[in-house]
């Protein structure tokens, strides 16, 4: 992955410090990284992907991935919050009307708007491109009543991108993406969040009721599919993979620092072939993901919107997600075996391997690998030439 430029690295530094200080507590209490988000707001990084003409930093997708990866070295939850906000921003930048962009993006750039994503829905198993929530057009307004079982950071977001059926939709695939600010809707948190890992994402069930102006639809009405193919799905897989990679790389780095400390060197045989082999395997898994992430991000940057709809690209980006979600936890597993019970399995140890492993356990489930394999099997059949991008 390309190194972060000095200007961005300087903005990121206080964010990393804040996130590191609060990571254990957010995990313990399954609490949203409030202080981390405040640091992101004041750093300007919430506007990383906002073009300079709207007052943003004009950053690139590789910048987003590098920042997410670095935050994830301290706290995967805070990194997921950041990466997913970036995904929402990119959708607005590329698919909102100019009028909506002018209204919203300067406030994102100032750090006033943290954007949540409302795409989950009961009974559709995480499927992004369908919805069972009808909406109604009433003059210039769209009325909606949307329940979502899992909204990452939803209780803390200032605005949301919400999927729901377009008014008058005749099939479950005619989904619109709607921008809504918190004070435009009645926003209720319906329950708590007490998972195994990613506890700081505070991904709660929520209900959104009310009406928003019709011009807040992002992309064409009923055509969320286009936003998904162009921005939403690629940035989800790229962003999550960067978070998982950062978590695994952070775990390896902390483990190496421990092994190389003078006290530990006296206690352990650093020539042990088992130890060296385990280190090598962990590093190999991490470098594999790094190579694939970096390549996939490069390809994404070169493709036209039409090519992003093609099988070769979609196969690659889906495979990135599956590979990262398998290899990153496997790398941390390797480290747990290496350092043993005390450093690897006990809670609240300096290496935080136990937390990293719990956080990374979510990776295969966060848009299920089983579903992606089915998609990639079908896509493979569409690509007889086996065109590799």
């Amino acid at each position: 992955m390309r190194a972060l430029g000095p200007a961005l690295a300087e903005r990121l530094e206080p964010v990393l410090g804040t996130v590191e200080r609060h990571a254990a507590e957010c995990d313990e209490k399954a609490a949203f990284p409030t202080q981390g988000l405040t640091a992101m707001r004041s750093s300007g990084l919430l506007g990383l992907l906002v073009p300079a003409r709207y007052g943003g930093l004009g950053g690139t997708v590789p910048d987003l991935l590098a920042v997410s990866q670095l935050i994830a070295r301290q706290d995967m939850s805070a990194a997921m919050v950041f990466a997913m906000h970036g995904q929402q921003v990119a959708a607005l930048v590329h698919h909102a009307s100019e009028e909506l962009r002018e209204r919203v993006l300067p406030r994102v750039a100032r750090g006033d708007l943290y954007l949540g994503s409302v795409t989950t829905e009961a009974g559709k198993g995480g499927h992004l491109l369908s919805s069972g929530t009808a909406t109604r057009r009433e003059g210039d307004l769209i009325e909606l009543d949307r329940m979502a079982p899992i909204v990452t950071g939803g209780a803390h977001a200032d605005a949301y991108l919400i999927t729901a059926l377009a008014p008058g939709a005749t099939s479950e695939g005619q989904v619109s993406l709607v921008y809504a600010e918190r004070d435009q809707l009645d926003v209720q948190v319906l329950g708590g969040w007490d998972p195994m890992g990613m506890r700081g994402t505070h991904s709660v069930p929520m209900r959104f009721t009310g009406a928003v102006p019709h011009d807040q639809v992002v992309g064409a009405p009923g055509d969320f599919r286009r936003v998904t193919v162009d921005v939403f799905a690629p940035l989800a897989h790229l962003g999550w993979s960067a978070c998982w990679l950062g978590t695994a790389a952070g775990a390896l780095s902390r483990t190496l620092r421990l092994l190389r400390s003078p006290e530990e060197r006296r206690r352990r045989d650093l020539k042990s072939e088992l130890l060296l082999t385990r280190l090598s395997r962990a590093r190999q898994r991490i470098d594999t993901v790094q190579a694939m992430l970096s390549h996939t991000a490069d390809v994404y940057g070169t493709l036209s919107e039409r090519e992003r709809g093609g099988a070769p690209w979609q196969l690659l980006v889906n495979a990135l997600k599956v590979t990262a979600s398998e290899q990153c936890p496997a790398a941390v597993e390797e480290l747990v075996e290496l350092v043993g019970l005390r450093h690897g399995y006990l809670r609240n140890q300096p290496l935080a391997l136990e937390r990293a492993l719990r956080d990374l356990r979510s990776a295969s489930l966060n848009y299920g690998n089983d579903r992606l394999h089915l998609a990639n099997g079908s896509l493979s059949l569409l690509d007889q030439e086996t065109t590799l991008v």
Binding site: R260, P262, R265, L270
Partner: protein
């Protein structure tokens, strides 16, 4: 190159004869240092000379000759002094 430095290096250089002087231009690989042993040498430098080489200084070029490694050690020492 001071005595502590050459004393630290010597056990890692099995082709350096006892009593043979270590010169700055001597190539460490020719004297028996391989990459598997380099990490042990790094640890000995930390323990005996009190200097920690940062990751980005652990390059082939710095391990090329006794003199280049000495320079890296001196550089790391002065960086620590500057940081204080």
């Amino acid at each position: 190159m001071d005595q502590a430095f050459t004393d630290t290096l010597r056990p890692h250089l099995r082709y350096l004869a006892p009593g043979q002087e270590l010169r700055p231009e001597d190539r460490l690989r020719d004297l028996g240092l391989n990459s598997m042993q380099a990490i042990d040498l790094v640890f000995d430098l930390e323990d005996n000379c009190g200097v920690t080489l940062p990751d980005d200084q652990l390059t082939d070029a710095n391990f090329e000759t006794a003199g280049s490694l000495w320079e890296a050690v001196q550089h790391a020492r002065s960086a620590v002094v500057d940081a204080r």
